[in-house]
Symmetry: C2
Subunit: 352 residues, 2 copies
């Protein structure tokens, strides 16, 4: 079965084009059923999803849950180090992790463009399935719509995640306090520059790869290391570390100082940013977290992160201070200082 | 504050165009923050959403929950009787209701097209807020992305809903039994024909309006009337009543017979379908449910639905039979019969 029913009475089911998405795949009829049966279920299959109801039924343990939603519109769909499917799982799972929650369930909503090659869809779905398995989340229900050629740039993917909150560890952007250390789990700027360089056909000595990854393992290690003293967690995606730190400074009413020489910006990202006139502090990351812990616990937290491959480049990049509340200030390599403001608009559109 | 920051260092923030969506509104920077603060929060505002975290925190009572996701790509965005915002709330809330669940929470993911007039966005958001309030659901978290002109046909909206399941009433498509009555809560074919007629500029004597509505009140009345004997609930959206009934016949391994003369198809819908060569049984509805109850309880269930304005046209349209399992058969007005099969593809694309 190829996804094409052969009893076609109805116009948008041309026979022959069996390797691409067609409008009929969004019909709710036999072609929709075949698309789900042939291309989604074999990858995502699990007992909840296989019921194919209009909604999934979940049994949750008693307690609070976290819910997060994100739509992914990255262009191009595939890039060095990942694709839209990897982002769609990691992005939402990481938003749950940043609440201190344990990610459990995911829904997926696809907008597919007529003409999208099935081989691309299959690769994206396979990547989503692997990413979900690795992150320990179950895809429990989904939806597929099809729009005409040119109307969705290949595909857009929404994921909504549900996680179980931890009553003992409740990080929040308002909990930063003077004396906290600002830690970062890995190198800055890789995701945004990987997509940008690939999209623009820029050639550097090495290919910059996206850092897209689930941060759940690092959060577990941090919880074990510092427990409720894990005050703030944030994954600096759109808008980069600069935007995330500004939001935290404002939510907590504190100042943040950063040391430029401590920022773990890889050489290739730094070179690409320099060439394009971009600041790596504003470039999106998809597998990096910012953690705020009391200064005396910083070394323990760093050691915990460094025990995992994802945290190999973990670094202490700054401090929370009482002065200049609501502002992020960078001490440059030359000893000067400059304010790291939030940008009004995009450095890099369509990055996630 | 108009949504335009004036300290623009960065290209996609043209000054001046303050009445339309711009790429910078999807940046995660100041323009994104302004969009959310100025256009979403005032409409959707509630304590959970106002925290603006990467995820919402929900306190759920002990028990099972239902989760449903749906992306809406209707074209045009506004049509007689509703808009994409009304559909995005009702569609997802109704999927939860059809599980017998009480809808409680909603997430919203917007893909906005550069150039979308704010007045359109504002109307859609206002309609969503009203629909959510009327349906008794709280919008708890959201996401906004912006894509270039031409890449999202105005806007696409994903909603994901969470509802509380009822342990006493658990309808399911596999629970139909011979002897059950097949009931419909209202007139068939209105939503699909409203969008279609409007999109194609077809003029009929009266304007056909969409039936988009939350079905939760009708489900509550049905539960009160027949409790656990509410065996199957289904909202016949994409693919219409024919597709929904075929799925139920297959899931339950039963036959379904319909009486053509009992189908509540309004005159204007019937005329429009005739003119376009469409069958109202395949046309999408967004405010109608199919309910299966044991034959002897049919009158009680109908009376319950008719006590609510949404159920004014409720009718018994058929029976579940043991013969021809997996098939839906229509007895025509002339006394003949014909098989009502599932269509392969679309009668009407981009209807929801």
């Amino acid at each position: 079965m190829t996804g094409i029913a052969t009893t076609g009475l109805v116009c948008p089911t041309p026979i022959g084009s069996v390797d691409r998405v067609q409008l009929g795949h969004g019909s709710g009829g036999k072609m929709s059923a075949a698309l789900i049966r042939d291309r989604f279920l074999p990858r995502f299959g699990n007992d909840v999803l296989a019921q194919l109801g209009d909604a999934a039924t979940l049994e949750l343990p008693h307690g609070r849950i976290a819910v997060s939603t994100d739509t992914f519109v990255v262009s191009p769909l595939e890039f060095p180090g990942g694709n839209i499917g990897a982002l769609a799982v990691h992005g939402t799972v990481n938003d749950l992790s940043m609440m201190g929650a344990e990610p459990r369930y995911l829904t997926a909503g696809f907008v597919l463009e007529e003409g999208l090659p099935f081989e691309v869809l299959d690769r994206v779905v396979a990547t989503m399935a692997t990413a979900a398995r690795e992150a320990g989340v179950l895809l429990v229900t989904g939806d597929t719509k099809v729009v005409e050629r040119g109307r969705a740039d290949g595909m857009y993917v929404n994921t909504t995640g549900i996680g179980l909150l931890d009553d003992a560890v409740r990080p929040g952007p308002h909990r930063a306090k003077p004396g906290d250390a600002v830690l970062v789990s890995g190198q800055l700027g890789r995701h945004g520059m990987a997509v940008m360089a690939f999209r623009e056909g820029l050639a550097f000595e090495s290919t910059i790869t996206s850092d897209t990854a689930s941060l759940a393992p690092l959060v577990r290690l941090l919880k074990d290391a510092v427990s409720s003293e894990l005050r703030v967690l944030r994954d600096p995606t759109r808008g980069g570390a600069a935007s995330a730190l500004n939001e935290i400074a404002q939510a907590s009413g504190v100042g943040i100082t950063l040391e430029e020489r401590r920022l773990p910006v890889p050489t290739d990202v730094a070179a690409a940013c320099e060439m394009l006139g971009l600041d790596p502090l504003y470039v999106a990351n998809e597998g990096v977290l910012l953690a705020f812990v009391p200064g005396p616990l910083a070394e323990e937290a760093l050691a915990a992160m460094r025990s995992h491959p994802l945290g190999a480049h973990a670094a202490r990049i700054g401090e929370v201070v009482a002065k200049h509340p609501g502002m992020v200030v960078l001490r440059t390599g030359l000893g000067g200082t400059r304010v790291v403001d939030m940008l009004p608009g995009d450095q890099l559109p369509r990055i996630c």
